[in-house]
Symmetry: C3
Subunit: 343 residues, 3 copies
């Protein structure tokens, strides 16, 4: 069911190979299942056919699961009994991850692409380029840039003077990068703006004088940065994105912000200048975080919340100003009761 | 009053032609009005002169209406009597639409442009291009793309492999499009990002593994997508934008989202993954909609609201979490009263 | 401590020169200080060394100040006594501005760059270009554009027909500009979208018909517009950005909006159509302002607030809908108390 105009299917793979890469196991134990059977590909519950593998984990889609014609389905053990007749159910402790492993086997994120530097790319003579580069049309790479091995630079990307990019990085079309050091396996999506100077002014009655922004942006390994997101460089300290962070589209990250490791920053979040964020922090969509705060490791912030004070490790908060999530839910209930009285 | 460095005026047109295209009628019935009189152009109430036509519908601008020197003005019948002396008042059931029809006669949205493919455009040999293309400088069109007739592709646009674009489409400068099927008469503005992979991960203590995103973006007829907006492709199902939807700037649309027909999505809205939106839904500016919800047809959501549950057809809601709009207003009032007690 | 791969240090400068450009004075009055001593550069409190100058004004960083090894530090007189031993303390009424002046002496915002027009730039023959242009690769400049003196146009920028740009302007890479008149010393960052048509439709049961947008965008002197921000042109009136306004990243400014002088618009703010904003107004991050309102001079709006009515001059407001800031704080407190009762 995957559109092969857009995706190259490296399958089929046998059920045995699928089990092996995912670490999952067959649930239908008493049935006589042929593990050499060939699986053609993957697809959603309502579209996959008897030769394909699907995936079920969110109970909201239980109806689609029960009605699915998929021949194979990865799920959690607790859902295995609800599977439709004839479906071979494959269970895993982390079915999402097992599915991801299998889908990546059929449709590798980085299919082998022939190294190529487009003739219209403008690359300064002092640029250092690693092995197997793919550099698109209209790309501009300025003096003293360093690119690692196996980098893919999309069309019309601009990389300014001195930027360092590690191995196995992908930069999406029309992105612009300056004053930035990037480690390995980083994906920067289309239209991302990295390294422009932060929003810092010395203001008085005559107006706003720009304060020179003399820091950089430092991006760790395995980071993903979504389309049209903006990350300003530091004012003096650096702006730092820790290893393994995933940042969605249209996010704003101000100067001097530090994200720890493996943070999840959902779309349209804004983090104001100099705020420090710990490891594995989750910021829901449209969250705003004020400047000069500390959001400690493991904190989760509900979508659209406004964080105006330091949040201790592991807390789950919501609302504007953000409070512990139970208190926020109580506020919502209290407000509803109050309204009933008023009406 | 329109700056002719930027806009080509196809006028003058006679009053008769103006009435004919708009279906509007003259209100000043007992006066002796010459319907062959020539109207030079259109302009706002405070700038239009005696040879020009203006427009009034929002009572906030009643003062400007009463003081206007415009020779002609489209409005609703209820406002006709407040017109200044000497103004020829033209009334319509839908004055905004009547004005739009007239303004488009003077200043057509798509003036005839000579077909041209810029010499610096890089177009793969397998690309199929319809009649009368206008393709700008620095454009990149990859293998197996199909463009319909009369398409205008702005400078530095990137269209990736396999994308299908229908007839009479306009793609603004620096937009990037991949994994996408677009029907006819679609306007995509500058800097739009379509088709990048959605924000889907299999997470555990070791970090976040990307789940391959194997769907597409399907865009219906007569859709408009505003500047720097991002629309992710589906994870397996497609992301779908229905016919006639108008989407403003800086909007985020997550993977698997479906919009029905004729929705209005105002600037900076974010719609999280897998949410289904009906027909003629209006989402005010900065609204956030959580994932996996159903927002049924005719729903209107007040600006900045946060929708966290399914909304039934025709409801008008506001607040975070969004509630029926009357309840939201009551909450605001109740909170105010409460505050008076506190102070 | 500044990374010289990215920044050219024009220093060292003597202490005397530093005092002279900033109008600041030495606080350590009884000590025997050599004003001919050479200062190598500037840096943050925790990184600057004995030959460098740092800056302290936010009490949150008092610990870093007290532990700093910086040889010199600009601060306010009230903090001078807390300086560590051996630090030469320089005090000013406006220490932020004094620091900005000094940092700009070491690292000028506009280092002298050799005038150059890239060979891949496509410039229409009717374009008028002032003295000392720097025009990047892949730039497109259409018919009848006027560029003043000393303009820097980044790579892959698109400037459409008739646009006028004054002297000493900088346009960041991949920005697109149309239907726009820009005065002097304006900085437009990467990916900015200016002049696309506003979000105006005549709607009925058949759908949404675009109303031609026949105004322009007028940008005053000394304006800064952040990365990926979108400013729509007027519908008939112009969209106007007053002198000295500073606008952050990912901001949305609707058609017909007028900003007065020296406004500060923080990241991800959205201002809906036809709203008029006075002088020195500050809109915090993610603020939403509804259309057709007047936000008078000196107003300050707290981050994430939603403004739905006119705000009188000098007021400080917060919340959604925005109320005077004291009332908003009271609401927050009242809600908290209410919750305690509920729990």
């Amino acid at each position: 069911v995957v559109d092969e105009r857009f995706f190259n299917n490296y399958g089929p793979f046998s059920l045995e190979e699928v089990l092996s890469i995912s670490g999952a196991r067959i649930y239908n134990r008493d049935e006589n299942i042929d593990i050499t059977a060939q699986i053609k590909g993957v697809g959603p519950l309502d579209l996959a056919d008897s030769g394909e593998l699907s995936f079920f984990s969110n109970p909201k889609y239980a109806d689609a699961y029960k009605a699915s014609k998929a021949g194979y389905c990865i799920t959690a053990e607790k859902f295995a009994n609800e599977a439709p007749k004839g479906m071979i159910v494959i269970v895993s402790e982390n079915p999402t991850k097992a599915y991801a492993e299998i889908a990546r086997m059929f449709f590798p994120e980085d299919p082998v692409i022939k190294s190529r530097i487009a003739s219209s790319a403008r690359i300064a003579s002092s640029v250092s380029i690693g092995k197997n580069p793919v550099i698109g049309e209209g790309v501009v790479i300025a003096e003293n840039v360093t690119l690692g091995d196996n980098c893919m630079i999309g069309h019309n990307v601009v990389i300014e003077r001195g930027v360092v990019i590690g191995d196995d990085c992908k930069i999406g079309a029309s992105a612009t990068i300056c004053y930035c050091i990037i480690k390995d396996r980083v994906s920067i999506y289309t239209g991302v703006r990295i390294g422009q100077d932060g929003f810092g002014f010395a203001s008085d009655r005559s107006g706003h004088m720009k304060i020179p922004q003399l820091g950089r942006v430092i991006i760790g390994n395995d980071v993903e940065i979504g389309a049209n997101t903006a990350i300003d460089r530091g004012a003096g300290p650096d702006t730092i994105i820790g290893d393994g962070c995933v940042i969605d589209n249209l996010v704003q990250i101000g100067h001097n912000v530090e994200l720890g490791k493996n943070c999840v920053v959902v779309s349209q979040v804004g983090i104001a200048g100099s705020t420090k964020v710990g490891d594995f922090v989750v910021l829901g969509g449209q969250v705003g975080v004020a400047g000069h705060l500390s959001i400690e490791s493991g904190v989760q912030v509900a979508a659209q919340s406004g964080v105006v004070s330091t949040i201790k490790a592991g807390m789950v908060v919501g609302g504007t100003p953000a409070v512990p999530i139970r208190d926020w839910h109580r506020q919502t209930i209290a407000l509803k009761k109050l309204t009933n009285k008023v009406s």
